[in-house]
Amino acid sequence: MLYYGGNFVLAPSVLYTLRSDEQVIRGFWCPNGYCDNSNPYDFGLPSSYNVTAFGGSLAVQGDLLVAYVILDGTTDAIAMFQCFTAPICQFIDLIESETYAPVQDYGYLLTISTDDKAIIVAEPDILVGIVQSYENGPDLLCLSGKIICTKS
């Protein structure tokens, strides 16, 4: 049986939740807080990715949704989605750590700044990237110093 409630995030008139099989995120239309259970939308990574677990951490701000994902049982990453037609979101890109070690748990806890400009992971002082442009999807601007932004 599938279930959810273990992880979720609210956006304007929308709720995104992790589904328990950890393969897709389920989006609900929730006008005025009333969620339409009868018509959810599932989305995830393209089938070319070997997803082990997905959605353990979610964050949304504006049209950008990010989710923690484990690939091939070993590689942790952050999946980015664009939600212009929320609650349906389109996969944009995958952010993997090239320099951060251990890679395990990279993206385990995510948040996005309220101005949509930064994605932040749990580890102190680690800023994954700056959202530079939305014109063709959020482009990441990588910074220096403690910043370890990479764009695959």
Binding site: L2, Y3, Y4, G5, G6, F8, L10, L15, F28, N37
Partner: protein, 143 residues
């Protein structure tokens, strides 16, 4: 629970809020959220496993420009029947709707039970359960 006033990335301790007496809980503040609603600041703290394992959420309203200790506090209990009620509040997400003058609060758990969405009005110090979000058992509309 500690509430800080922050400006330009610099924060100062504004208030220390004790556990509400009637909801004394070692897990006060298990999940936290902060939203701004029509000029007021709203601090939300969950309290899973309080009072005979009945989870609850404490909402502290902070009038604009005033300390949070001067604001109003109210509590949202787990809607019944909610089993296991102790888990109520182990997950939380909050968003403000400035046009409607309310904020929406999704409260759930890590267990195999639905999550609930509330609409909260800080003028009346109340939250109304808008409904639960449950599993339809089917995968559909795969994008």
């Amino acid at each position: 629970m500690f509430i800080y006033q922050c400006s330009q990335g610099s924060c100062e301790l504004d208030a220390t809020l004790p556990d509400p007496v009637e909801y004394s809980s070692a897990q006060f503040g298990y999940r936290l959220a902060l939203v701004e609603l029509n000029g007021a600041v709203v601090a939300v703290a969950t309290m899973p496993a309080v009072n005979s394992n009945q989870g609850a959420v404490l909402i502290n309203t902070c009038p604009s420009g005033e300390s949070c200790v001067d604001g109003g506090v109210f509590v949202v209990d787990a809607p019944g029947p909610y089993v296991p009620a102790a888990a109520f509040g182990t997950q939380l997400s909050v968003i403000a709707d400035q046009d409607q003058g309310v904020f929406y609060m999704a409260v759930g758990s890590a267990a195999d039970i639905p999550l609930y969405v509330f609409a909260c009005n800080i003028s009346t110090y109340s939250c109304a359960a808008q409904g639960d979000v449950y599993d339809t058992g089917t995968v559909q509309n795969i994008n």
